[in-house]
Every structure is written in C-alpha cells, then in structure tokens.
C-alpha cells in the first residue's frame, strides 16, 4: 500500500442524477396511467391534464419572474427542474374527468404557489403539493370532485360499491375499466410505471412495500371479510392506493430521509389508509393518509435518526 492515492475532499463518487432527470423519469413513469386514463375516459381527460400541467408550470414560471425581478440576473425560473410538471400531472390524475376546467387551475395554483413556493420552493414543501391541492378541492368542491359519472361509466366507484357491501369485478378493476379519477383506475398501468421507476432506482420498495403490506394486514384483520382474496384484491386495486403508494408517498421531499423512518412512514400510511377506508365515512382515504403522514415526517425522522459513528448506543444522534 505504498501507492499514494489522490487526495480530495468528499464526495468522491458523483452520480449524474439531477432533479430534472429524476422528475422526467417520474413523468415518463406516469405516462402509462395517464395514457390509459385518456383512452378510458376520452379526450376530455387530456384537456384536464393539459390545463392542470399548464397552470402549475405557468404559476412556477410567473412566480420566478416576479421574485427575481429585483435581484437581477441569475436564473430566473425553476420551471426547468420539471417538478411543476410532475405536480400538475399528479394533480390531474387525481381528479375526475368531468371536473369543470377552472378547478384544476385553482388546484394547480394552490399546489405550486401556496404549498410549494411560499414555503421556499422545491425541497421546502412540507407536504405533497399535488395531494394538498387535491384535499383542498375535496373539501371545497365535494360534489364536483366525487362526480365520477362520465360517458363511459355511470355510478359509484368500485370502492364505494364495496363500502355499500356490493360485489365488484377485481379483474376489471385491475385493468382499470371502472369509474374513478383519471389516473387511479388502472392498477396495471400504474404498476408498469412503478416498475420503471424501481428499475431506474428512482424509488425503492421500502415505502410502497411497507405501506401496501400494512394496509393488506389491516384489511384482513379489520375489513370484516377475513382473508377473502377477492375483497383484498378489490381494496388494493381500487382507489388511489397504487398511485399514492408508488408515486406520491415516495416523493423525495415529503418522505423521511432515514431508512428506518421510511418503513415507519409506510406503516403509518397503511394504518391511516385502513382506518379511513374501513372505519371512516368515505370510501377513500389515501390522500388524507399521505398528507397526514407528511406532517408526521419530522417526528418520524427525529426518532429514527441513526446514531453517529463513534457515539455508541444511545449516544448523540445525527
């Protein structure tokens, strides 16, 4: 070992990953679900997606212009990191196809301006902007946000049918030929996108895995149907569980950074979703579970922060 190594300060290994490529991969991974939504619900779904993405991107762009006007020079816009596109796309996939087109605009402006930019921009938002906007709209426009009637399908979503004690066709649900929001219906399309992200290493299975396993256990224990595979399958394929677990709970900004914390986060989400779906008044609870989980992230991180090397057991954390 007489060879002198090159001496430099860390980091020594640099990855080529930057925000825009990560965001681009998420957008690509969402395309199957979005494409299926357009195929399933017709061209109006495309209009909702376009309006939603347009409003988020425009909001981010205009805010950048306004904020940097006085300081002069420098990068004027953060649009190019593509995070606004992801937010807009996720927001659109979380809305029913028949929604009046000004509502996605309101949601997009709220998500970007209030939830993200006013708190300091990407990396500082304390909850998922798309989900915060979805919850704002669920509270503000309960009728329009749960009006899943459209040309293709009328009537309740499969989860609402389940809640009423009815029967649903799990295979139709998994393929996505049911009512619901634009992007949540097809479990297969969502999982295809999720596989891409897993393969690229953008996300890992810690949060989605612990989330889905916990939720499944909760349904088996408290769902009232025991380990009935049809009921469990319908609960897993129905609603926004797959969309939430793979694309929104794994958001880098609003998930815990510690590895143990990510498991805890997934378990908390699974429990909350189970409680909301089975004991709550509504049929769906993924959105509220995730934004509530987002608020718990600082606490989870505090208690799962690994002990620094050399400090021994129970020593200084972090």
């Amino acid at each position: 070992m007489s060879e002198l190594y090159k001496v430099s300060s860390n980091p020594h290994i640099r990855s080529g990953a930057v925000t825009s490529t990560l965001m681009l991969s998420v957008v690509l991974a969402l395309l199957p679900a979005a494409g299926f939504g357009v195929y399933n619900f017709g061209p109006r779904a495309l209009a909702v997606i376009g309006v939603s993405v347009g409003s988020t991107v425009l909001t981010e762009y205009l805010y950048g212009l306004l904020r940097n006007r006085k300081s002069g020079g420098g990068k004027k816009t953060t649009v190019t990191d593509l995070s606004a596109v992801v937010t807009g796309l996720l927001l659109a996939l979380n809305m029913p196809v028949g929604i009046p087109l000004w509502m996605p605009v309101l949601g997009g402006v709220f998500a970007i301006l209030v939830v993200k930019l006013l708190f300091g921009g990407l990396g500082q938002n304390f909850m998922n902007p798309a989900l915060a906007a979805r919850c704002l709209m669920l509270i503000s426009f309960p009728a329009a946000m749960t009006a899943f009637d459209c040309d293709a399908y009328t009537g309740a979503t499969p989860l609402a049918v389940l809640k009423e004690g009815g029967e649903v066709d799990v295979f139709r649900m998994a393929a996505g030929f049911t009512g619901g929001t634009i992007g949540e219906t097809s479990m297969i399309a969502l999982l295809a996108g999720a596989c891409v992200l897993l393969f690229l290493g953008v996300i890992d299975l810690r949060i989605p895995g612990s989330y889905i396993v916990t939720f499944s256990l909760f349904v088996v224990l408290f769902g009232g149907h025991g380990a009935d595979p049809a009921y469990l399958g319908a609960q897993l394929a129905g609603g926004g569980l797959m969309l939430g677990a793979f694309f929104m709970a794994t958001d880098y900004v609003t998930r815990p950074i510690t590895i143990r914390g990510q498991y805890v986060f997934g378990i908390v989400l699974g429990l909350l979703t189970g409680i909301f779906r089975i004991f709550g008044p509504g049929a769906e609870g993924v959105s509220y579970a995730i934004i509530l989980g987002n608020l718990l992230v600082p606490l989870i991180e505090k208690y799962t922060m690994p002990v620094a090397f050399g400090h021994g057991k129970g020593g200084k954390r972090g």
Partner: protein
C-alpha cells in the same frame, strides 16, 4: 383633539390589532365565517374596549399597581356581561351566531393589552379614543376577513348573493383553514403596502431610519428591536405617570 385623531389612526391603521399586532387571534379565526359575524364581533369588542379603557383610565390613580390585573378583569368582565345581556335582548341572532365567543371577550388580549399598556397610564380622553381606535381597527379587520370568506366560501356578502349562480363556492374558505388563508393574505398585503411607503420616503430623502430616535413608527416592518416596539406610547406614558409598574 389632535391626540384623539392620532389615537384613532394608530388603532385603525398603524397598530391595527389584528393585522399588525396579531392580537386576539382566537375570535379572529373562529367567528369570521361571514361579514355580519365579523362586524358584530368587532363592534361588541369595540364597545367593551372603549368603555373599559375609559373606566380604567379614570381609576388609574386609585387601582394599586400590584392588583391592577384582577381589577382590569373585573371591569372588563362587567362590561362584557352587560353587553351580552343587551345582545340577548336586542340582537338574539348575533348572540346565537357568536355564541361562546362573547363571554370570551373578557380574556381578549387586545382589551387587557390596551388597559395595561395605554389606559392605565394615560389621561381619560386619549384612552377612550385609543379604545375606540383599536376597536374599530379590530372591527375593520374582522369585517374584511369575514367578507372575503363569505364571498369566496358562499358567494354572498352580508347575506346577499352577489355573485352569479355559475360561481361555485370554494367551501374551504367557510371552514377553519380558510380563516388562516385569508388572514395570512391580508397580513401579507398590509406588510406589502407598508413596505412600499418607506421606499417612497427614501427617494425624497426624508424617511431615513437613524436609530430609535427618529423611528418612523412603522413597527410592523421595522427590524429594530427598539424598546418602544408595538407600544410606542408606553415610554412617554410611564414617564408622565410613574406608576405603570413592571410590564
């Protein structure tokens, strides 16, 4: 008379209790679901505030400094009780709408704050106008918040539907989160407007900050940790009276 006008201006604009001092947040957030509720709450508080300031200022030579807070509370609670009885008798709908928040005016920190920081150490007439000014400032803010929430959350203003039917009410503004959104928006607007003023002054070369001696009185956007922050009359008041105690 000049002093009275200055007190009114101070209460309504310069040290607006809601938007600048951020006092009395509990009724501000809870009852402003409509413009009428905001107006009612504001005016009720104004009456209590003006009268309690008046009485406390009259009694300021008699109340011993050590028991002044209980004495203030007794005076304030008496007025709140009488005001509530009058509301029950003459404006039962408002009494019902405001409910628990009427008795809670007793512990409204604006009232106790003005008693402690102004009325207890200042002459009667300025104290009365201080109470009126603060009360009107509170009323103005609450009515604005209530009007915006009612407009956005229900499409109405003072109970009249003024927006077309095609407007879909954004219901969240009628609920608790909406109160925070509107309050934050108004505080931001207030700060923005105040921030613009000193800049205009700087251009003409008059509004320069030069230590606490030539304070512009604009505590809302002033970064100095000066001793006269928020209660710029306290220093002069205690000097005059010498009995303001240890606040």
């Amino acid at each position: 008379m000049n002093r009275a006008a200055e007190r009114l201006h101070n209460g309504i604009i310069k040290e607006n209790p809601t938007l600048v001092l951020m006092l009395g947040m509990c009724p501000t957030l809870a009852v402003t679901t409509s413009a009428v509720n905001g107006l009612g709450m504001g005016l009720t508080t104004t009456v209590v505030l003006a009268l309690s300031n008046l009485i406390i200022s009259l009694l300021r030579g008699i109340i011993p400094s050590r028991v002044r807070i209980p004495a203030f509370i007794v005076i304030i609670a008496s007025f709140v009780t009488s005001v509530q009885l009058m509301l029950e008798a003459y404006l039962p709908f408002l009494n019902k709408a405001l409910g628990m928040y009427i008795p809670l005016i007793v512990v409204n920190c604006i009232i106790l704050g003005r008693a402690e920081s102004y009325a207890y150490s200042n002459p009667v007439l300025p104290s009365l106008f201080d109470g009126l000014g603060m009360g009107l400032g509170f009323t103005l803010s609450l009515t604005c918040i209530g009007a915006l929430r009612e407009l956005l959350g229900a499409g109405e203003l003072f109970g009249f539907g003024i927006l077309p039917d095609s407007f879909e009410p954004i219901r969240i503004f009628g609920q608790a989160p909406g109160a925070f959104f509107v309050l934050a928006g108004l505080v931001a607007l207030q700060n923005y407007l105040k921030e613009r003023k000193p800049k205009a002054g700087q251009k003409t070369g008059s509004g320069q900050k030069a230590g606490s001696g030539s304070c512009s009185g604009d505590c809302g956007s002033c970064g100095d940790g000066c001793s006269t922050r928020f209660y710029d009359d306290k220093a002069s008041g205690t000097g005059k009276n010498g009995s303001a105690g240890d606040n």
